[in-house]
């Protein structure tokens, strides 16, 4: 008689598609460690205006002052002195694929970017070693006045807009890692959508850490004028290294009256990366901001996309998934702050842990006094695939209005033997059945992804589940 049990999963990840290194061809690389002169050097290399240089230095001072957070994941092994903070691979950001240096093109060939460009996606900004190398923007977007550039170039070409909004949503002293980013940021995307313009096709960017110990500190700023709409997608990957890598990005979004912004992330950093990200949006009157956040990789991710609903009838939604395998900790969630009446929000979190992995949901729901008629729902579901794995939920609700309508649902479960048997009785192997159940669990998330990403995500999850049958 066959013995079917929910088996111990053995990770047999195959990162070989991504696990390649280019011999380092860097034009400039800063010294290890972070000093005030490193910060000044970065600003000088980039030829930045005075205000940005001062901004960085001020931020560096905040970074030194702020203590490490005493909550969340284990950050004790980050050695700030042993990281390179800046590396610039080329002097020119090319607009045509053939202008990009060969080795870098090869990297992106492997990551499939040219295909993506040819398909339905709009422009492609690709990040390599802290600098955006390849960037192209479709003509019709340009005609409509949509700006999609790397942030460094945006600072030069659109200094007024950048200065007006940069650091206004996430001030440099917001938290230690925002301060770090504010001091040494490089690359990232700048998106500006004029009033009334609806960008039909998603804008996307790729990131990759290559040189050992080079951190990623990209800074993204998205400004959407009244009535405009845009969908931005980022997905990252990195080869596997034994020493720590630090990814500390900052994303700021301003959605003005009636604007609609969706920001989708599929994060699949290699298992040695610390991914500590601050993402925040302001949604004004009748605006909508949606964070679609997929966390699959990294050794530790701490990320809580947030929406501040500052105008009446603004809407915020965070849809997040976290997948934690062996030695991984996904500490993710959301923050929604209702500061105006009749605003609505929804948080949906789905997490899967296996082989001792740990997922944590950390969510803040704040309703300010005077914000009447607020409706909010929170749903967090966790799936534990074996007895070694762990999941925690830390919801914080600060509701200062009696008229608020808040619901909170949480479930934790494991895959039932019956469900596996049912699917296997229809011809599916045990691993296919497991995969189907996990994908079904994550379906509310995957159905919000563009097809290409949904397929990629499916493949990535399948890779995680392979070799699991005992």
């Amino acid at each position: 008689m066959c013995d079917l049990k929910v088996s111990r999963q053995v990770i047999n990840e195959d990162y070989s598609k991504y696990d390649f290194k280019d011999p380092e061809q860097l034009v400039f690389k800063s010294k290890r460690g972070l000093t005030r002169s490193t910060v000044e050097e970065i600003s000088k290399m980039k030829n930045e205006p005075e205000w940005m240089r001062n901004f960085r230095i001020k931020a560096y001072e905040y970074f030194l002052e702020r203590p490490m957070p005493n909550w969340g994941g284990d950050l004790s092994t980050i050695d700030f002195d042993n990281i390179y903070y800046y590396a610039k691979p080329t002097d020119k950001a090319g607009t045509d694929w053939k202008d990009v240096p060969e080795s870098i093109r090869k990297t992106f060939d492997k990551l499939g970017i040219p295909e993506a460009e040819r398909k339905f996606l709009g422009g492609v900004g690709a990040q390599y070693e802290s600098e955006v190398v390849y960037h192209s923007l479709r003509e019709d977007l340009e005609k409509k006045g949509v700006v999609f550039l790397d942030t460094d170039s945006a600072l030069k070409k659109y200094p007024d807009i950048v200065k007006r909004y940069f650091g206004t949503i996430i001030p440099p002293n917001d938290n230690k890692f925002a301060a770090l980013n504010s001091a040494v940021w490089s690359g990232g995307s700048f998106v500006y959508v004029p009033a009334g313009v609806k960008v039909e096709v998603p804008l996307q960017a790729y990131f990759r850490i290559n040189a050992q110990n080079v951190g990623q500190f990209e800074r993204t700023l998205i400004v959407v004028e009244p009535g405009a709409e845009v969908h931005y997608i980022e997905g990252c990957t990195a080869p596997i290294y034994s020493s720590e890598s630090l990814h500390s990005a900052v994303v700021e979004i301003i959605a003005k009256k009636g604007a609609k912004v969706r920001y989708t992330t599929i994060q699949n950093w290699s298992r040695d990366v610390y991914n500590l990200v601050t993402k925040r949006a302001y949604a004004y009157e009748d605006a909508t901001v949606e964070w679609v956040d997929g966390n699959l990789g990294s050794r530790l991710t701490m990320k809580y996309p947030s929406v501040y609903l500052v105008g009446p009838r603004a809407k915020g939604e965070v849809l997040s998934i976290a997948f934690a395998g062996k030695d991984q900790h996904q500490d993710a969630g959301a923050k929604i702050v209702h500061l105006a009446p009749n605003t609505t929000s929804r948080i949906t979190s789905k997490s899967v842990s296996k082989e001792g992995g740990r997922t944590t949901y950390r969510g803040l729901l704040h309703v300010e006094k005077g914000a009447k008629g607020v409706k909010s729902s929170v749903r967090c579901d966790a799936l534990l695939l074996d007895e070694r794995s762990r999941t925690d939920t830390y919801p914080y609700n600060e509701i200062n209005e009696e008229t608020a309508n808040i619901t909170h649902e949480a479930t934790v479960g494991k895959i039932s033997e019956e469900a596996l048997f049912y699917l296997m009785s229809r011809g599916l192997s045990e691993s296919d059945a497991l995969n189907m159940i996990v994908m079904g669990f994550l379906e509310p998330f995957t159905k919000e992804l563009p097809m290409e990403y949904a397929v990629e995500l499916n493949r990535l999850i399948q890779l995680e589940m392979v070799g699991s049958v005992g």
């Binding site: 008689m1 079917l4 229809r426 011809g427 599916l428 045990e430 189907m436 994908m439 669990f441």
Partner: protein
């Protein structure tokens, strides 16, 4: 040539308790066998043991399809050999649409007959119509929020799509009103042919008015107490199970259906 399904002196049980105490049955494709019996007689245990449910232990005996023993095979391999189980309590699988699930399942058990998506969809719609199920169910998540009747209809749709050699239908009629019963029976009848053997497990004689069995077997306390033709079912309808000696309704604790 007909395929054969044999159950040979099968002893099986659950949680250390022996429920099947020596079952011998043989089904050929093209035949419809009804398995009846009072509660606790082992009908569901038989169904689950045949399909390889992890909680049920095969103590001794064998199960063979075309002379090949399947008793040590996992459930998916049994499915690939042409066995199908219609569940009495079909499970809900959130996030997986009925259509996608069926397509994946079809590709697994019928990989020698690949179908274009468009043709598959058409075929699926036909099967839905046979059991009177609305097309919208195709995109709904598998069994999620389905009523009891709808779940049973969905099982029959799966049966019709996968076209197994042998179908064991575990109390497919339970919980159905008369209209649903007729539709489900219609579905079953639409797939009966010389290429499928059906084992219809049922407590009541009702469904046998619509799906006419060739053979009827009555299980009592884990054994086949009596076998006969369709008229046996009629006799049970008139006289009840007590007519068969030793066939008193079992006490509640003997009823060990894994739900």
């Amino acid at each position: 040539m007909a395929n054969t399904l044999e159950i040979i002196d099968l002893h099986a049980g659950i949680e250390g308790k022996e429920i099947l105490k020596g079952i011998d049955l043989a089904v050929k494709t093209g035949e419809i066998h009804a398995i009846m019996g009072p509660n606790g007689s082992g009908k569901s245990t038989l169904a689950y043991t045949m399909m390889g449910h992890p909680k049920y232990k095969l103590i001794s005996g064998d199960i063979k399809i075309d002379g090949v023993s399947i008793k040590d095979m996992p459930p998916n391999e049994r499915a690939l050999r042409g066995l199908f189980l219609g569940f009495q309590y079909p499970l809900e699988i959130p996030g997986v649409s009925l259509a996608n699930f069926l397509r994946i399942s079809y590709n697994a058990v019928r990989k020698d007959e690949p179908m274009l998506v468009r043709d598959f969809r058409k075929m699926l719609e036909d099967k839905f119509e046979t059991v009177g199920m609305e097309r919208s169910f195709a995109t709904r998540y598998l069994n999620e929020g389905f009523s009891g009747g709808e779940k049973k209809k969905a099982e029959v749709v799966q049966l019709a799509v996968l076209r197994p050699k042998f179908a064991v239908l575990d109390e497919t009629d339970s919980g159905l009103d008369i209209d649903a019963l007729k539709l489900v029976s219609n579905g079953i009848n639409s797939i009966t042919s010389s290429e499928i053997g059906i084992m219809l497990i049922t407590h009541y004689q009702r469904i046998l008015r619509y799906v006419k069995p060739d053979f009827v077997h009555v299980l009592v306390k884990g054994k086949v107490a009596v076998s006969g033709g369709a008229e046996l079912a009629q006799k049970l309808e008139e006289k009840g199970y007590a007519w068969i000696s030793g066939a008193e309704e079992a006490e509640p604790e003997a009823e060990v259906k894994a739900k």
